[in-house]
Symmetry: C2
Subunit: 491 residues, 2 copies
Amino acid sequence: MAKELTSRSENYSQWYNELVVKADLAENSAVRGCMVIKPYGYSIWEKMQATLDKMFKETGHVNAYFPLFIPKSFFSKEASHVEGFAKECAVITHYRLKNNENGTGVVVDPEAKLEEELIIRPTSETIIWNTYRNWIQSYRDLPLLINQWANVVRWEMRTRLFLRTAEFLWQEGHTAHATKEEAIEETIKMINVYARFAEEYLGIPVIIGTKTESERFAGALDTYCIEALMQDGKALQSGTSHFLGQNFAKAFDVKFTNKEGKLDYVWATSWGVSTRLVGALIMAHSDDNGLVLPPRLAPIQVVIVPIYKNNEQLEKISEKALQIKKELEKIEITVKYDDRDTHKPGWKFAEYELKGVPVRIAIGPRDLENNSVEIARRDTLSKEIISSNNLGETIVKLLDDIQTNIYNKALIFRENNTFTVDTYDEFKEIINNKGGFVLAHWDGSAETELKIKEETKATIRCILLDGEKEEGTCIYSGKPSKQRVLFAKAY
Amino acid sequence: MAKELTSRSENYSQWYNELVVKADLAENSAVRGCMVIKPYGYSIWEKMQATLDKMFKETGHVNAYFPLFIPKSFFSKEASHVEGFAKECAVITHYRLKNNENGTGVVVDPEAKLEEELIIRPTSETIIWNTYRNWIQSYRDLPLLINQWANVVRWEMRTRLFLRTAEFLWQEGHTAHATKEEAIEETIKMINVYARFAEEYLGIPVIIGTKTESERFAGALDTYCIEALMQDGKALQSGTSHFLGQNFAKAFDVKFTNKEGKLDYVWATSWGVSTRLVGALIMAHSDDNGLVLPPRLAPIQVVIVPIYKNNEQLEKISEKALQIKKELEKIEITVKYDDRDTHKPGWKFAEYELKGVPVRIAIGPRDLENNSVEIARRDTLSKEIISSNNLGETIVKLLDDIQTNIYNKALIFRENNTFTVDTYDEFKEIINNKGGFVLAHWDGSAETELKIKEETKATIRCILLDGEKEEGTCIYSGKPSKQRVLFAKAY
């Protein structure tokens, strides 16, 4: 192997950190809490962006761009929002530097102090709803279905590449509606878009549900989420969609004339996913040899490696390899032919395993004679010699198989690690020793939720949207419960 | 007309400002100097991005993402760079707000002061070269051909939508090379990519040249640029590509072992275009009726408007319109069918003229009888009744014609407004009264350049890359000159 990884069983957290760096996905920057997304990592994000953007447009949304800066006073307008977001943030106080008087570098120019401080957006509800006020007069101006691809900053104290960084990339949808029903419908539509994206592209099965009051987005009446289970038994919140009611319309005085000619406040939603999804992708599927990428999001879907002893052999193999590359590219498969003479085949095999390339094709002199190639799957690590006739068809099918297999593997893992418990002892036993998703009855109170969190570090991930409405008694308080909710330790 | 525009001849500057707002491209935000890019304006930028991104990838570049924040000390490392960029900038001094003691809103928490201030990137050479230090050890790691799509902030005092805003969107390429020759080749390759994009997509002819020393990018040894002429006779710098020599490698200690086994500093380039190009697009082609968009970047290429008196007519027309829409979409043409019953056809005609939709198709009851449609071109405002057979072919050809015509019109305008002068009197006469590009001899000194700028407001836009090397005498000083250079007043 080119680069030795810590194994997952040895230290899952260290395995993750090493993998992100060794597979050239991202690294820490010189700025505390901010990451550099390297080209290989960024190309995964680009594929996610392209897919999501298409899904957003198919559901009627358009993109726009709002300022990076938010005037401080905007945060005070929505009471719960300020509590949630305006505290740990990057604050701009000045707009000029000047030469230091002793001639060494530059210092902040005290003359250039802003009258009102500007905050780097942690999320854009406030600046967007302040803008919507001028865009919406009548029900004819509604709905507004707008998305923004942007960077945001939340001053996190403990950061981890992709999972939690001070600056991160995301998309944030902000929609405005004439009725409550339509806004709720939009909120649910978008969490379903996220769920479909997670399952069909990331290959990660997710649970859709709503957050408890204490876990809701600051300013929302309801937060829908998708929750995924990672290989270490922890949950990762992978996307959220918020029904904001009329909170932001009231805070920013956004009224419209409805069909009946009456003035009313506008109804709002917002929804987002971020570069955190790259973290989810890594943690859900990868193994001790490196990344395992779902074919639909893999920057390189097929790599071809020549096996040769001399230049004459290489020449003949290259001819065949380039012919295969062309054939596959014609049917939209992304192929890399690695004919570098600076590295041996074994080194390359390990490298592309580390980088999670779904399919590897090796071609040696004997393959030329037999009209064959060796195919290796990254997900199962299995190898096979096959005829190189109709290779396009074979590879398309293989990539589909891998996509399905990765999903199924994650689904079986989740099923094997989802537990239904009826007592607090069982609950603690599983949370402390096994991890995983735990379905248990809860009395619906924030006090119980907090107690359980304090005692076990497990939180309510969500109240299942299509969970059975089986009644029972709370595992903690013994009070009545209307349905089981999903608990887990979480990222 | 739906919305009356000031005419260009009356007040060009006001015409531009009104057009940007009335055509729903962008508007000023609540944050000084920052704009909101509205969905219609953003969709033009998206088309530009998609095209440029493809061109960058075809020339071997990959995308990555670097932090928004740059530690203040980084700017002091490259002496001329700090002068050019670190002065007017957004400075982050704190990372937390707290509730005001009197209970009204939030204030900056003085406890949360950063040890070192962070600057919002005005451009990313410093943070990127600080990162490259760890990525480059040997000539085998070179070249690095990386691009970033990002927002940047320069604290401009006088801002104008798209042309000059405090925050703007752009791409910045940052490449690293083993040799000087290769870096210069890259610099020139990328200015040519920009020129091709401007001419083939924006439909704007550009002059390629190098900047004089005083107009160079802060930290560059040479700055290549493309310069376009706007309808008011002013130049607009539309893209730059910088040969940075070893300046940033030296500032950030980025060395590599070359093929001969010796340590050397890495050679650098950087290049960028921004949302300013949307401004160029508007100013180069639009007229007193509104936008004129080149078909290759138009968010809507064809709009279909039904002309009807009753629902029965509308139904039949809609059937035909949707059939045409489908036919055109099949060949990748973007079509909007506007069957809103809230606005009259005349209103819609004016609206799509304002928004610059290249082709309008109107269908009335008589067209159904005659198997015809009325086609209107936005660029010439001409109309024609044509058969609706083979409409796809007709429209493809028409869109090509419009793209070519827009370019040719801009080229003829530039040719008619490019003047060769030999005396300072002639020079001043043209700069003060006519505007346009002026080719004149210059002695090569910064003093003369500055004097001319002070006296006429005209600047040297560039030293033409493929200009004739005709010798002469400087129009200002009478000293010898090696070639004419390009002067103009500029945005």
